[in-house]
């Protein structure tokens, strides 16, 4: 054992590390592609089944793109099914409002609880899990009196669903943000920032937030996907959103309904891809360049001199 250590210490560390790292990286790359391919096939199978159904020729044999061509003719689609446009607009509004509500309310609160009110963590965890335990049908029945007041003050439009959606999104957003916050030593960062004279607002927005970017992005992803996929609450409150409109559309023709559902999935996917571009940090030049998600204090010494 001693000889081994002695031998090891004779080889310079950088050289020792290089072949190890390269081998590991290659093995990781292989593992990565195997896992992604196997699970990818599992996930793509039902989607392929949907494509197969929508391209079936009426005669039973052969393929046809008629259904997709009808969908692609967006103008005539909007004319024939005006509810679809209403639903799309409502969903767009709801996505923006719900994500905004979630970011503005949940993120600062979680950071604040972690920093100043640690005894609230467990109750908050329970509260943020509660929306998932009550099924949507019951939730609608018990939200009825609250929404009666909301409709009285804000009208019966679909965008008022953003409050209910913000609640529905809580379990997922909380878990993603919690995972991110666990990875960052929030307390030390905030103490350091406070000792340098930063106020609580600066601590939250300029010190902690940049370090949990990946978590905030995950939470936003889940919120966007949930709002775009939500059907039950909007339906039972007789409001419209994209899924409700698709459902009504589907009553006229099952092939179109499956095709529109698939199209909605693809559009949501494209939307999330675009959103993920926001999560790519610009490469920092200078001594702190390297792994892009290293925790860095956003308040650099230069800006301190300015204040």
């Amino acid at each position: 054992m001693a000889e081994l250590t002695a031998l090891r210490s004779q080889v310079p560390p950088a050289q020792r590390r290089a072949p190890l790292a390269r081998r590991r990286r290659r093995r990781q790359a292989l593992q990565r592609w195997v896992v992604v391919t196997v699970l990818g096939i599992f996930f793509l199978l039902p989607l392929y089944a949907m494509v197969e159904f929508t391209t079936r020729a009426p005669s039973g044999s052969g393929r046809t793109l008629d259904v997709w061509r009808t969908l692609a003719d967006v103008r005539s689609l909007a004319d024939q099914y005006p509810d679809l446009l209403d639903g799309l607009v409502a969903s767009a509004e709801l996505v923006l409002l719900t994500v905004a509500l979630m970011l503005v309310l949940l993120v600062p609160t979680m950071i604040w609880v972690r920093l100043r009110l640690p005894w609230l963590r467990r109750p908050m965890e329970f509260v943020c899990l509660l929306p998932l335990t009550v099924p949507a049908i019951v939730l609608v029945v018990v939200l009825a009196p609250v929404y009666a007041w909301v409709a009285y003050f804000l009208g019966p439009a679909s965008w008022t669903l953003c409050f209910a959606y913000a609640i529905l999104v809580l379990p997922f957003a909380y878990r993603a943000l919690d995972a991110g916050l666990q990875a960052v030593d929030v307390r030390t960062l905030s103490e350091a920032a406070r000792s340098l004279g930063a106020g609580w607002g600066t601590v939250i927005t300029r010190v902690v937030l940049p370090n949990i970017r990946s978590a905030v992005l995950s939470a936003s992803f889940l919120s966007v996907a949930l709002v775009l996929g939500e059907f039950t609450v909007a339906n039972l409150l007789s409001r419209t959103n994209v899924q409700v409109a698709i459902n009504l559309l589907g009553k006229r023709d099952p092939s179109i309904s499956v095709a529109v559902s698939l199209a909605a999935l693809l559009i949501a996917f494209a939307l999330l891809l675009v959103l993920s571009l926001a999560g790519i940090r610009r490469r920092r030049r200078g001594p702190r360049a390297g792994r892009t998600d290293e925790p860095v204090l956003a308040v650099t010494p230069v800006s301190l001199e300015e204040t």
Binding site: R24, F43, G180
Partner: protein, 314 residues
Amino acid sequence: MTSDAASAPALRDRAVPAAVGTSSGGRRGRRLAGTAASLLGVVPFGLLVTFFLVIPTLVVVIGSFLDAGNRFTFANVRGLTEDVVVQAYARSVWISAVTAVLGAAFGALLAHAVSTAAPGGVLRRVVTAACGVLAQFGGVTLAFAFLATFGFTGFVTVWLQHTFGVDPYGAGGWLTDTPGLLLVYTYFQIPLMVVVFLPALDGLRPQWREATESLGGSTWAYWRHVAGPVLLPSFLGSMLLLFANAFSAYATAKALISQGSPIVPLKIDAAISGEVITGQDNIGKAMALGMVVVVAIVLWLYARLQRRTSAWLS
């Protein structure tokens, strides 16, 4: 994270001028004032949650103890002890637990694969976007897609029958029974795990891996002593989320198994929307209360497990 309690007084003392007297009453008064000031920070969130979550939950709780004429009764809650209902709860818990574990395991695997990829690369962005979308894919469409894939006339079933001579339906319908629900639920549990667990994996520093290796540690040692303890709280928390997610999911099951309401959310749906037997609304609320209690118990178990494992692994 264990230093929370220790550094709290330090921060609080900084927030309040030190010139105030140091008698115990004075300090307690200051602490209360400090707490009250801190609580102001959670008021906006608290308002949203109170009106749109706490009050509805209280309505559920109160409704469980009312009968059709709004009189107090235990009958609804007693109805929860019926055989059929207990079986439904057992089946719900079983399906949720199994899909939570499967989803967590495969999801963590996929999340790890994605986290080792280039941070801004195509693979990571495509997989995370796809997982975000698939995590919320459910309901009638998902049931239809699974029927079209694994159903009696599904293309995978037909392919298995023609290529291997294996008939998955030889022993009877499985897709429209518990095994089917397990498969379908896992379909959206895995992507959910990926999206929720990835931030935790992103928090692992490559320096830790290099440090372990330079100290002669193997991959197993790295996972057992370094990465594992750091990831375990998030892993357990994500698994808890998966459990709750499967527990209350019902739209997909409703389309797949329209008979007999084998799981609790379907029974609640039957009580509230059923048009053949009316007057069951409050029984539905009692069942919802039961669901809240079950999840509270699971949450408590999770909290204890977290405390035990953090002590054991650190």
